[in-house]
């Protein structure tokens, strides 16, 4: 089992150290090479095998979120909105820079019943991701669903079940200003009980941070998407 040659290039040898024979570099390289090859094949193989199922899962989760916020919808088309306002069908792979993804939901007759999009902002722990449903006729948000969050159980996670909080989103005003460049009024979360305008959100008492995250996420997403989307709605009014 002892090795004959002591390669001077073998890593791990200190000058004048142990007299136990060190493994020749070639043996180490060979082992690492073979092991890496085997492992590489295992990884690539499992990636390819699981890819269809993983993608299907993600699609199902997104669809479920969209149908939750736009209940009359029967089918969904994914689009991306590019900085200039152009709307394109969403494709596989990374989003082009500055693009925003949204979902156009159509009713049974193929007419646009609403738009769904995601907004996210940092809550207590990590990002709180919200899917919101928007109806162009009233220029308002009609419902929200939580896509993912890691908020404090029993406190922050109330945003999913608190009826008063969810009532905020039955018709949250996100009208555009006259120039159609931004929202006429910023969506903001206010202290519980002080809501005075349709674009405000009553926070949950004791869960201010998480409530604010919801408001901020929706505001940021709406400020970005609505000005681009509203002028171009004609293009997606009918299901293509």
């Amino acid at each position: 089992m002892s090795t004959e040659k002591l390669s001077s290039a073998s890593p791990g040898t200190e000058p004048g150290a142990e007299d136990t024979p060190t493994t020749p570099t070639f043996a180490m390289m060979r082992t690492l090479g073979i092991v890496s090859a085997i492992c590489g094949m295992i990884i690539v193989g499992s990636y390819l095998v699981t890819l269809p199922a993983a993608k299907a899962n993600r699609r199902i989760a997104t669809e479920r979120a969209v149908f939750k916020v736009l209940p009359e919808a029967k089918s969904i088309n994914e689009y991306i909105s590019l900085p200039g306002g152009v709307i394109e069908s969403a494709k596989e792979g990374d989003l082009p820079p500055g693009a925003v993804k949204f979902y156009a939901a159509y009713d049974a007759g193929g007419k646009l019943s609403g738009i769904a999009a995601e907004g996210s902002a940092k809550g207590y722990a990590e990002a709180v991701r919200i899917m919101f449903g928007y109806k162009p006729e009233c220029q308002c948000i009609v419902g929200i669903g939580v896509v993912s969050m890691r908020e404090t159980p029993g406190i922050g996670d109330k945003i999913q079940v608190d009826k008063d909080f969810l009532a905020n989103f039955e018709s949250l005003d996100v009208k555009l200003n006259k120039e159609l460049t931004a929202l006429a009024n910023k969506v903001e979360t206010v202290r519980h009980g002080t809501k005075a305008n349709p674009w405000q959100i009553d926070a949950i008492t004791g869960a201010t941070v998480t409530s604010r995250a919801v408001g901020k996420g929706i505001n940021d997403a709406a400020q970005l998407l609505m000005p681009r989307l509203l002028p171009k709605l004609e293009k997606i009014k009918e299901k293509s």
């Binding site: 590489g40 990884i43 990636y47 902002a121 940092k122 207590y124 722990a125 990002a127 941070v209 940021d220």
Partner: protein, 192 residues
């Protein structure tokens, strides 16, 4: 999502999102090496050093892997780089301070399997931090880790002189103390 500021990242990684007390990363040294401050503090610093190296390497590796569309090799690349960094630190400590090397014993090479080191790399990738943010996260996280270790070591040193029931000795006691420390740090929640 809005970019997190440096101050935010620092405060969160040291206090409300402390690696050990809030995110449970780096438990092995937390439970194993905190019997003396004189051993806990240097280990914390050595770990911080490795964390910073890991963070920088992970940032560079991530860029390369994204360009080559080889994201599935991310985990392997990260851990191999960490193992190499630990090897370097080991050789450095052995030369500079053999007594410290003996005192740290098995826990020095165990930095390789310290979840905190790999955790930094994984979290900074998941949160898509840029370079300055990643570096801040690494420094803050390492400092928070060292802080938690030193705090627990201070308490444990004191407790050695107290009357503790037989059955509670050892890991059970350390865990209880750790729990109280974690509870205390929860008071920082919401900062940043």
């Amino acid at each position: 999502m809005e970019r997190e500021s440096i101050g935010q990242i620092l405060l969160v990684s040291i206090l409300s999102g402390n690696f050990v007390l809030a995110m449970f990363l780096g438990m092995c040294p937390f439970l194993g090496v905190t019997h003396r401050i004189a051993v806990a503090a240097p280990l914390g610093l050595a770990t911080t050093f490795v964390i910073v190296i890991a963070c920088v390497s992970a940032y560079a590796l991530n860029i390369v892997l994204s360009i080559l569309h080889l994201e599935f090799l991310r985990l392997i690349c990260y851990i191999v780089v960490i193992a190499a960094a630990v090897q370097l630190v080991e050789m450095f400590v052995k030369k500079q301070s053999p007594s410290l090397f003996r005192a740290l014993g098995i826990y020095l090479p165990l930095i390789t399997t310290n979840c905190a080191v790999l955790g930094v790399a994984l979290y900074q990738t998941a949160r898509e931090y840029d370079f300055i943010q990643s570096l801040t996260f690494a420094l803050g996280g390492g400092f928070g880790f060292t802080l938690a270790l030193v705090l627990l070591a201070s308490v444990r040193e004191r407790v050695q002189l107290s009357n503790v029931p037989d059955v509670l000795h050892g890991t059970a006691l350390t865990l209880m103390l750790g729990g109280i420390l974690s509870l205390a740090f929860m008071g920082f929640a919401g900062i940043g």
